[in-house]
Amino acid sequence: MKLAAEILSVIQGDPRADRAVPPSGFTAQLTLFTGGAMAFLAVFALALALATARLADRWSGELAQTSTVRISAPDAQMEVQTKAALRVLTSTPGVKTARALDPAEQRALLAPWFGPELPVETLPIPQLIEVFETGAGYDAEGLRLRLKAEAPGAVLDDHTRWRRPLVAAAGRLNLMALAAMALIAATMVAMITLAANSALSANAQVIRVLRLVGARDSYIARAFVRRFTLRALGGAAVGTALAMIAVSLLPDAEVAGGFLTGLGFSGAGWLAPLVVPVLAAFIAFWSTRLAAMKALKGIT
């Protein structure tokens, strides 16, 4: 309750209390710059954290629900083994659907490497069967044994082998992004504490006079806290706006394809960066308040 009242008084301000502490140009600029730069970096770290979280979810979700059966057989047996494999698959518990890719789809898969004109039908490439699982999934080892018996050229790839490192990589990237955000916050605490201490030292005589005429610690601290909080908020608002513009200018996923294109925000995720200036103000509030209270303890 007391803290809420103090936060409210910081927001409302007291022009006379503000005037009691002279403006300090250097620390003001330092706090503005720190707020802006840290917010800019924080928005990028946030974008990375959200993107990697999305990526990990998508990879673990989508890949977990699909498998591929690859049939490598002589031309004469290809169709027979494909049909046999499809029969096995459709009768396997845990398999929702299974369908053989048509030549056009296989051509599209190979297009990035061989171009769109590849005559798939004339080349000895394996036939692919796309398998969609039910939520419960299937017994991969049992299916492999049945496929081996019915279609010897069929090889089941349940994506596990390459899904795990991808999901783990996305998870680690996510952790690194979160760690980067924590480091940015810690750096901001350090920078604002330094700036606040510098301002407090420069105004030691002002603080002494205010104490001597009957000012409470909270009154004196508030003058500094309000100043630093508003500066950090202003700087962070500008930094956040610039970072959001920069993120919005990143290429879309459809245009460039690949991992990095998912780095931006999507949908309601665009609201997430708006928390950054508020957090910056919160950090500035507490950093300055703690620095001021500590400095005031040394002045009777």
């Binding site: 009691a20 002279p22 002002v206 006079v209 005429v213 009957g214 009154y219 009777t300």
Partner: protein, 225 residues
Amino acid sequence: MIELHDVSYRYGAEDLLSNITLKLAAGSFHFLTGPSGAGKTTLLKLCYMELMATSGQVTIFGRPADRIGRDGVAQVRRRVGVVHQDCAFLDHLPLLENVALPLTVSGQSTEANMQELRDLLAWVGLSGRTGALPPQLSGGERQRAALARAVVMSPDVILADEPTGNLDWEMSLRLLTLLIELNRMGKTILIATHDLNLIRQTKAQIAARVLRIKDRRLQLAGADL
């Protein structure tokens, strides 16, 4: 109002004051004298809690000083007006705002008290200097402004540390007249000074008690004063 009982103050290995006992009763007028470095300023600082006694008991408005928290100290200083030796102004604020500072920090509106502030500045002869910054004031003007600030909250006790140190005799008498006027209004006054003429001038007008610090101890001054 303020009592010191067997108070000593030590800084490092050196005793600056030893076994001081002093009682500032309501409405009393005291002078504190002694050579430079005797400990007059230290004793005054003990009275408004800028320093804390290393032994003995300081009681301020009935409360032991060592049991008064930091907010309590602020409250005490609103009831004890101090004219500091260095005047201690905020150089970036004009005179009027400096004099109003005790009102400002205690949450009182300067605007609501503007007439009283102007009357106060007229009383100390600084009506025409309200917009001046402290560095633009002469030594005498600073001393009078410091007195105005010390009394703006209508404190019960006024402590003055060499208040006439920068003043000529005429101005010193003027300031003294102001302090005597405050005492007649019921304020308790303690003035640290080594100006014996000022003390004699005061004793000719009111019953003032003169104390002397000698060899770190407090004693009643002799008939020579």
